[in-house]
């Protein structure tokens, strides 16, 4: 344990940007968990008399077109956005690795089918596929998560397959077989943990991408339903107010979104450094 901590401190020391990313991540996590309790106003409470007021001491980020406090909404949105990102990526990762590992381990027809399937998904312009899925199934948060998960599947499947295929004839696998472990058990307990490192980076990058995806869907009207507070939909709605001078509706959620995605992207690098110093880029 101490060795790991020392390693962590070393990596942090080398790379101030990673420290920044980790601290930001902690802040985001904190807001996601405790957000709803610390908002000064109810993020859903409208106040028709107080619409479109610029930032003031009363309303740190101003009010939106229905009089709701933007600051509270930005904080409350952290939970929803993080939730979407984590669920979508977790789903994608689990399904994708399962498929990829099976393909890499057993080869043959499994490999071919999984390969074709992921090729087909990748042949779609990804955002359009997400649009299509959400349009067809209805724009609920669950469907947005499913759509994002589906379009990210191929990446995980590919990496999992490649990494598993390399290792399937390694010594430790044979050893496990000799001791009587079943095939699936070997796959789950021996091979899977070994392929985690390269996936970590992909996971954090994907989390950022999942949030951007949800924002894009909101811009064309296929995002979460109102009055839910979600950064993407706040930016999409606020974008229309920039030209008329009410910049605070879009800038603050936009900044929050950018910081979160930024954080996930940098986090990916940091995780890579932590896990595999040979591959630092």
């Amino acid at each position: 344990m101490r060795r790991h901590l020392k390693h962590l401190r070393y990596v942090m020391g080398e790379n101030p940007v990673t420290v920044f990313a980790f601290s930001l991540f902690t802040l985001i996590l904190f807001l996601a968990i405790f957000g709803p309790w610390i908002t000064p106003y109810d993020p859903l409470a409208t106040e028709a008399a107080n619409t479109l007021k610029p930032p003031s001491w009363d309303h740190l980020f101003g009010t939106d077109h229905l009089g709701r406090d933007v600051f509270s909404r930005v904080i409350a949105a952290t939970r929803l956005d993080l939730g979407i990102a984590v669920s979508a990526v977790a789903l994608s990762f689990l399904l994708g690795s399962a498929l990829g590992c099976s393909a890499g381990f057993w080869g043959g027809w499994t490999d071919r089918i999984v390969g074709r399937f992921s090729d087909t998904i990748m042949a779609f312009p990804l955002f359009v596929l997400a649009m299509g899925i959400v349009a067809a199934m209805g724009n609920t948060v669950e469907n947005i998560i499913y759509a994002t998960a589906i379009i990210n599947l191929p990446f995980y499947a590919r990496v999992a397959r490649a990494e598993t295929a390399i290792r399937r004839n390694a010594g430790f696998v044979h050893a496990a077989r000799l001791t009587g472990s079943g095939e699936v058990r070997i796959l789950a307990t021996q091979l899977f943990p070994n392929i985690l490192p390269p996936m970590m980076v992909q996971i954090s990058l994907n989390m950022g991408w999942a949030i951007l995806n949800a924002a894009g869907l909101s811009f064309i009207g296929l995002g979460v339903r109102p009055p839910a507070a979600e950064w993407g939909i706040m930016v999409a709605e606020g974008a229309n107010y920039i030209v008329s001078g009410e910049w605070w509706l879009a800038i603050f959620p936009g900044a929050a979104l950018m910081l979160a995605v930024f954080c996930f992207n940098l986090l990916g690098d940091g995780l890579r450094d932590l896990v595999d110093p040979l591959r630092r880029t």
Partner: protein, 538 residues
């Protein structure tokens, strides 16, 4: 002007002519003062209004490049802006007309000065061919013609080359106005018939992409998805010559971009401005706003009687007493709406339509009514709205949701994309509580009731069925407004609407357009599209 300067220098540097547009725009030196640049959010998809699948924005084209037998006049409103006058019918292709004694025949004398673009005169044969087409191709055009009692080609008679007659089964006040709506436009039948085939006797393929008309403007150019350009027909003799030589209508999907363009002066006219932008343009003073309440149109909250508990009139009235009317007009309509609440009595004083309903926000009354209905703890339901109209429907829905929550009604919001809206709301009529915005083209209250209160009719998304209303509407629809029974019937209809409230009016919307100060002559029309014929640039 920086940008234009830069480009000019680029032109000089490469040896091109100094004035860029001279080289590129056809023929005459068309300066900016002769061209009107219009920005619109949606594109047209056909030049043929009778064709299946022609979208709403395409109606604009028919208005400007084709003529009809008659047209509505224009009146000036109190604030100086212009709007169409539903009571004044003026000649267009028909220079005069007579109605027979029994009211069942209308005869039109065709103006000999009416000529198609190819120089040939407009004859009664062309009119008949066009009208036959309007009722034969089906879809929306046939339905609209039916409202004027025109359903079969046999009703259209060519008396002689310059005289055209329409026979209707019973006299109706709606027939003449129905001839001024965009649908019965007059096509150059010789040109069209030459392009017709056995499989396509009405030349739909040809007329879809090429216009063959007599209108004040010709279609000079159509780049689908980008823009289309009208050029003035200098031989048009059926009215005052249009003031602008060329009109360029550019498709710009993003509302913010449209606004930016108008504010910077790069666009002259912006139709259908969202309420907030309209309000701000007016306050800013740099850009002119012309807006008028849309005749015979209401933004309402509709309750579906097929879904319990909306079949109980007390529940509907309770909701009518709970809505945040003032906030909706302020926050969703930005004041660009005529309030439709706060009426004095349960019976109407006159037959102005739309008129305020006798409800206002009163939570005590609302809760009492709910208790009477046996629902004092409230209930759960879904509030649906049309994503395509989100700019006013979303804030309205949010405000309503919040207000209903205060009397115990938990409404879940349901955003339905525009393409699916009509099926869900109007065809299947399956939405329990939703926002609706029907506006009738013909400005009569009975016309509104015909579409929105008769059971099974398209805009009656409430599944409202009342035998008394059915009888009254059938009696009144074709009655002349001058008959004494007319006023009585309409008053009865309105008082039933007050009492039963399957549709709770929120406000009467404005149709706002923004334009540069040097644009004059813009008028608001019932079809909510741009009629360029009256516009001039000062």
């Amino acid at each position: 002007m920086q940008r234009r300067e830069f480009l000019k220098h680029l032109g000089v540097a490469t040896g091109a002519s100094v004035l860029p547009f001279l080289k590129y725009l056809p023929a005459e030196a068309a300066g900016r003062s002769d061209t009107l640049v219009v920005v619109s959010g949606s594109g047209i998809n056909s030049l043929d209004l009778h064709r299946k699948g022609t979208n709403r924005p395409s109606y604009q084209v028919t208005v400007n490049i084709y003529d009809r037998l008659v047209r509505f006049g224009v009146k000036t409103l109190e604030d100086g802006s212009l709007a169409y006058d539903s009571t004044k019918i003026e000649p267009e292709v028909a220079e005069s007309w007579t109605v027979s004694e029994d009211g069942k025949s209308l005869s039109f004398k065709i103006n000999p000065k009416a000529k198609f673009w190819d120089g040939s005169p407009v004859t009664a044969h062309d009119v008949k061919w066009s009208f036959d087409r309007a009722v034969s191709l089906g879809g929306f055009p046939a339905v609209q013609m039916k409202a004027g009692s025109m359903t079969k080609p046999e009703q259209f008679v060519v008396v002689d080359d310059m005289t055209f007659r329409i026979d209707i089964p019973a006299p109706s006040k709606l027939t003449l106005p129905d001839l001024a709506v965009p649908i019965p436009f007059i096509i150059n039948s010789k040109v069209a018939k030459a392009k017709a085939t056995e499989k396509d006797p009405w030349a739909t393929e040809f007329l879809h992409k090429t216009a063959a008309g007599s209108g004040a403007y010709k279609m000079a150019r159509w780049d689908p998805g980008q823009q289309f350009v009208y050029e003035r027909n200098d031989d048009w003799a059926l009215g005052t010559k249009p003031g602008v030589k060329r009109v360029i209508v550019r498709e710009v999907p993003s509302a913010s971009t449209r606004r930016a363009l108008v504010e910077r002066g790069d666009a002259d006219l912006y139709m259908n401005v969202p309420a907030k932008d309209a309000k701000e343009f007016e306050e800013g003073g740099k850009v002119g706003v012309s807006g008028a309440p849309i005749d015979n149109c209401l933004h309402v909250l509709a309750l579906n009687l097929k879904h319990k508990p909306f079949d109980n009139v007390k529940v509907r009235q309770a909701i009518a007493y709970a809505l945040p009317y003032k906030e909706i007009v302020a926050a969703a309509a930005y004041g660009r709406g005529k309030p439709m609440f706060g009426g004095k009595d349960m019976t109407p004083a006159d037959i102005t339509w739309p008129q305020p309903f006798p409800y206002d926000q009163d939570f005590d009354k609302a809760k009492a009514l709910l208790a009477e209905a046996g629902l004092k703890d409230g209930f759960e339901t879904t509030l649906s709205f049309n994503l395509g109209l989100a700019d006013w429907q979303e804030p309205t829905a949010l405000l309503i949701q919040e207000a209903l929550g205060k009397i115990g009604i938990k409404a879940k919001l349901d955003k339905i994309p525009g393409a699916n809206w009509r099926t869900a709301a109007l065809v299947e009529k399956r939405l329990p509580m939703h926002l609706e915005n029907f506006g009738g083209w013909l400005n009569y209250p009975d016309y509104y009731f015909f579409w929105a209160y008769k059971f099974g009719h398209l805009f009656n998304s409430s599944n409202y069925k009342n035998p008394e209303v059915e009888k009254l509407v059938d009696e009144t629809l074709h009655m002349e407004t001058s008959e004494p029974q007319y006023v009585e019937n309409v008053k009865k209809l309105i008082s039933i609407a007050f009492e039963d409230v399957p549709r709770i009016p929120l406000y009467q919307p404005y149709l706002d357009s923004a334009m540069q100060k040097n644009v004059s002559g813009y008028a608001s029309w019932f079809h909510r599209q741009l009629d360029c014929r009256g516009i001039a640039k000062v």
